[in-house]
Symmetry: C2
Subunit: 206 residues, 2 copies
């Protein structure tokens, strides 16, 4: 039998996904659980719920609360957090690069680095320069030689675009309605960074 | 200086408020924090956000998730949980009785008993017989002699009705958008049972 697995569904524009991206690796490793990264786009999911933007924009009171909540949680965890401007950022290009990283085995290094650039260092993740920096840092962490020009070109390939659309459709089919969401091999969904610990324990018991 | 305080804003129809109602007392006591009960009605708050019902009905995928999430959390905590039918229940009468309990000093006993009847024993909290049972149990726990007929009559008084409306308006002014919400003396909001522990720690530091 292989290791138990846990799917980590996230959108690079999602603030609470940042919290999970910064802690899922050590947490899962300690539990002997393998993380399967599932970058997807929340936009189509939100649209299906009738929202033209993030619910944090559609419901501004909730949006203001989210920022304060994130500030408090980030402070507790020793993380820097600035809400992005604009919020949400356009995460399409980031998700496509993440799918390249997934096929090449460095998504576990790329994901937290890009989130840190976005919410820790105020970078625009739709800019190629930000993606380049995240790829460079992921290369250093993974000790892989990553050529950004090649990665970026690959991220624009038709099959990568199709894979991202399929991944987002799979999220909808799996009844995922927000991010981060964790899914165990038996199909249980755990929504939000608040459920990450519970999801890891669940995955481990399977 | 008095004890630090923590406001506990809840609606009796709210599933996650049940989780908090079942644990806030020992948690706050251990921390030396006094709980200030703030029963209110979510209906007008949801209406202001454009929802004709609970968001768990407006967004059925989220509603199905909530039930599964509640089942898992309740099981972890050794609580019985059945979603109410209908969901949400009409909590108007319950909130009015709670305001009587608040003025008479037995709301800390009444609140968990009514939630247990609703989500643990499938009772209809809009029925006088359910309210009566909760009042009886609260009387036993608090060692007060509570006459339900008197309490019920008092709960229909104009000033109690006005107080509930004022409390619900105060929730909106405080930017409360869901339940349970915890508010500390410095005005910080903590939304959801997931934030109860953090709210108690925050209250204690003030």
């Amino acid at each position: 039998m292989g290791k138990p697995t846990l799917e980590f569904w996230y959108d690079f524009a999602s603030t609470y996904s940042y919290l999970s991206a910064m802690r899922i690796k050590p947490l899962a490793e300690r539990a002997g659980v393998e993380v399967l990264h599932r970058p997807f786009l929340l936009g189509p999911i939100f649209k299906a719920q009738g929202w033209a933007s993030s619910p944090f924009n559609v419901y501004p009171t909730k949006g203001r609360y989210m920022i304060r909540d994130m500030e408090r949680l980030a402070a507790e965890r020793g993380l820097v957090f600035h809400s992005s401007d604009p919020f949400p950022q356009n995460s399409l290009g980031a998700a496509r690069v993440a799918l390249v990283a997934l096929e090449e085995g460095w998504i576990g290094q790329f994901t937290p680095e890009l989130f840190k650039l976005e919410f820790g260092e105020r970078c625009d993740i739709s800019a190629a320069s930000t993606l380049e920096q995240a790829v460079r840092r992921a290369g250093e962490k993974s000790e892989l030689s990553l050529d950004f020009a090649r990665v970026f070109e690959r991220s624009g390939a038709d099959d990568i675009k199709r894979r991202l659309r399929a991944q987002t459709e799979a999220a909808a089919v799996a009844q995922i309605f927000g991010a981060p969401t964790f899914r165990t091999a038996d199909g249980e969904l755990f929504w939000g960074d608040d459920r990450l610990d519970q999801a890891v324990v669940w995955a481990r018991k399977l």
